[in-house]
C-alpha cells in the first residue's frame, strides 16, 4: 500500500520551478526562460521510499493577492486544494524579492519548504546564504539546491518524507501587524472560523477581509455554496 501526497511548487517567475519539476518528475514539460511561461498547472509523480508524491507546478507569481489569473490560480490551489506540502522555490541571487512571496505563503499554510534554487549561480557571484539561520527565523525547512545540476534533491525528498511522516513539524513564522490590524483580526476571526472549516487559516481569511479582497470573497461564497449543495444531495 502506498500513500499519495500532493506537493505544490510555488515561486516567482523565473526561479526554476519548472526545471525543478521536470528534474524531479522526469517529465519534459516545456519551459521557457521568461516570466509567466507556465500557464496551466502541470502534474507529475515521484516515488520516494515507500511513498508516492504528486507534484503540482503552479504558475510563477510575485504575489498571491489576485492581481491576475496566474496569481488567482496559485492562491486558489494553495488555499482550497490544500496540498500536503508547498515548496516555495526562491532565487538565491535575489532573495529579497522572492521572500516576499514566501512570507505570504507562510501565512496561508503550514507545511512549507523553502527551496533556495540557483545556488550555483549565487556561488559564482559570491553570495553565501545561511540557510540554517533562515530556517530558524522562518520556522520551516530551508534547503539549498540547484535544479539544473540536480544538487540538493536527496535532502529535499528526505525533508518532504520527514514532514509527511510527522518527524518534522513546521511552525511558520507569523507576521505581526500593528495594533489596529491585529485588533481587526481578533474581532473577525471567531466569525470566520464559524464559516470556513478548520482547514483554511481563519487568520489569513480575516486579513483578506480587512484587505477588502472581493475576488476571494466570491470564491469562498461559491465554494461554500457548492459544498452545501453536496451536503443537501447526500441527505
Amino acid at each position: 500500500m502506498t500513500d499519495t501526497f500532493r506537493v505544490a511548487l510555488a515561486g516567482n517567475p523565473n526561479t526554476g520551478k519548472s526545471t525543478l519539476f521536470n528534474a524531479l518528475t522526469g517529465l519534459k514539460q516545456h519551459t521557457g526562460n521568461w516570466a509567466g511561461k507556465t500557464v496551466s498547472v502541470a502534474e507529475g509523480t515521484v516515488r520516494h521510499k515507500d511513498k508516492q508524491y504528486r507534484f503540482i507546478d503552479l504558475p510563477g507569481t510575485y504575489s498571491i493577492f489576485s492581481n491576475s489569473a496566474d496569481e488567482e490560480a496559485a492562491r486558489n490551489y494553495i488555499i482550497f486544494e490544500k496540498p500536503d506540502i508547498t515548496l516555495v522555490v526562491v532565487d538565491a541571487t535575489s532573495l529579497e524579492r522572492n521572500l516576499n512571496l514566501a512570507l505570504q505563503i507562510l501565512e496561508m499554510t503550514k507545511n512549507v519548504v523553502i527551496c533556495i534554487n540557483l545556488i550555483d549561480e549565487a556561488d559564482k557571484r559570491g553570495i553565501t546564504i545561511n540557510e540554517r539561520l533562515m530556517a530558524r527565523r522562518l520556522g520551516v525547512p530551508v534547503i539549498k539546491l540547484s535544479a539544473r545540476n540536480r544538487a540538493g534533491f536527496p535532502l529535499l525528498l528526505d525533508t518532504i518524507d520527514r514532514i509527511v511522516s510527522g518527524k518534522i513539524t513546521c511552525e511558520p513564522a507569523q507576521f505581526k501587524y500593528d495594533g489596529e490590524i491585529e485588533a481587526g483580526i481578533a474581532s473577525l476571526e471567531p466569525f470566520v472560523k464559524e464559516v470556513v472549516d478548520d482547514r483554511i487559516s481563519s487568520r489569513w481569511v480575516a486579513l483578506r477581509l480587512l484587505d477588502g479582497d472581493e475576488s476571494l470573497l466570491n470564491e469562498l461564497n461559491e465554494r461554500l455554496k457548492a459544498k452545501e449543495e453536496t451536503v443537501c444531495n447526500l441527505s
Binding site: 510575485y62 489576485s66 492581481n67 529579497e96 524579492r97 512571496l101
Partner: protein
C-alpha cells in the same frame, strides 16, 4: 546630489538613482507595486524612457520594470545620484 531633491519617479532622468519616500496609490495596484519591490526606502534606477516619455523602465531589486505615467507620477522619492 545627496538626498535633498525631492520629486516624483516620473521626473527622473536616465541614470538617476532615486530613493522612494512615499506612494499615493491605493488598492490592488499599490499591493502589486509593493510586491515588485517599489517600497519606501528602496533605491530605484531610471533605466530608459520610451520615445514619448511614457512608460519608463526602472530597475528595482535587480529587475527592470516599466511603469506607466499614471503610476510613476504618484510615487515620490529623493534623488540620491545623477550621472
Amino acid at each position: 546630489m545627496d538626498g535633498t531633491k525631492c520629486g516624483i519617479l516620473f521626473e527622473g532622468k536616465k541614470g538617476d538613482f532615486i530613493r522612494i519616500t512615499s506612494m499615493e496609490i491605493e488598492g490592488v495596484m499599490r499591493r502589486r507595486l509593493l510586491d515588485l519591490g517599489f517600497v519606501p526606502g528602496a533605491v530605484v534606477e531610471v533605466i530608459r524612457k520610451s520615445p514619448l516619455g511614457d512608460p519608463i523602465a526602472f530597475r528595482v531589486s535587480q529587475t527592470t520594470i516599466a511603469l506607466r505615467k499614471e503610476e510613476s507620477t504618484r510615487i515620490q522619492g529623493e534623488l540620491i545620484q545623477r550621472d
